[in-house]
Symmetry: C2
Subunit: 201 residues, 2 copies
């Protein structure tokens, strides 16, 4: 199952076919694939090569640990994400490790690593659905995450599944298109809001 | 010129060969390629599909506009980034457009879009070097960026060039390896710092 988008300018197929499903198949993710996904995140660039990204990962075959991670998601996300064979939590170290000063790029670079992970997943036929709807305080407590780290994202990983089994409201969300603003609305030149001359052929 | 890294687990070649050069060739970036890079960013996922990313782009053929953008970088970055044929500034809208409430994922999602753009660039033989070392206040003034937007990154785009022409200190940085922490240092299970059982074969 794929959902290829129609783009205004050609992009690599892994970008055009990537999507965030609400329905996950029960097929587990092979250990080697999972390690390669996080290996991809590992090689993302980061400010001063700080590599601020950290992850806690739970696979469904470890039932107790998996349930615990499900409990760190908001209810609306638990409803569908518990079906994914792998869950992870994305965490950023907020200060540089070499001088303990604030790393202004920390959260940005966690996102950058997520982008790299997403791409590796797509290349392997896997799907990823990230969530901001998590319970950071609960995660900090459960996992004993130290001060100075920000719990940012939930990450569901697996193979896209059959949406027919989803509750109706989520099924609807799954089927919905996620349109994008045209490039001209967020790519400017010379001045904020000024359409880039790149669009003039 | 490429710099393929040796990874502990296999990753897609576009991840293993991506790097952030300090030396850029003078060869310009074709308009279609540039639009495809930002089209790739456009299709990144984002929290509530907010698409918080915005860019101001300057190409070298537009000398005045390009010089103005160079002046928004810190001096250390101006030294090498002025040679890139394209510069951009990455900006995130901090509040959701549908209710004006804070978007906790805004900066993260700008990073995610950068990851997507980076991948498209690598697929096209282009290189990207992102910088956190910019002058956000100056950029806000020059480009009349409204309140509620955070100026985050400078983005140099082009083809990798010959590092021999770089000043010595930058040449050294360009040649340096950017090693990564092992996966086991940032991928945990069950508890912070607890090595994931995924590493046990």
């Amino acid at each position: 199952m794929t959902k290829t988008v129609t783009t205004d300018h050609p992009v690599h197929e892994f970008i055009a076919t990537r999507w965030s499903p609400y329905a996950f198949d029960e097929k587990p993710v092979e250990q080697e694939d999972l390690l390669s996904l996080f290996e991809a995140a590992r090689w993302a660039p980061s400010s001063y090569n700080e590599q601020p990204w950290h992850y806690i990962v739970a696979t469904k075959n470890n039932t107790d640990a998996f349930e615990l991670m499900v409990s760190c998601l908001v209810e609306g996300n638990q409803a569908w994400a518990k079906a994914a064979p792998v869950l992870a939590i994305g965490i950023a170290r907020l200060n540089f490790s070499y001088n303990n000063k604030p790393n202004r790029a920390a959260i940005h670079d966690l996102g950058l690593a997520a982008g790299t992970l997403l791409f590796e997943a797509t290349a392997r036929g896997l799907c990823v659905h990230q969530m901001i709807g998590i319970l950071p305080d609960r995660a900090c407590e459960i996992y004993a995450i130290p001060e100075g780290y920000e719990v940012m994202t939930g990450i569901a990983i697996g193979y896209a599944g059959n949406p027919d089994k989803l509750p109706d409201d989520i099924k609807e969300r799954d089927a919905a298109r996620r349109p994008r603003k045209p490039l001209s609305e967020f790519m400017y030149s010379g001045r904020w809001g000024s359409v880039s001359p790149l669009f003039r052929k």
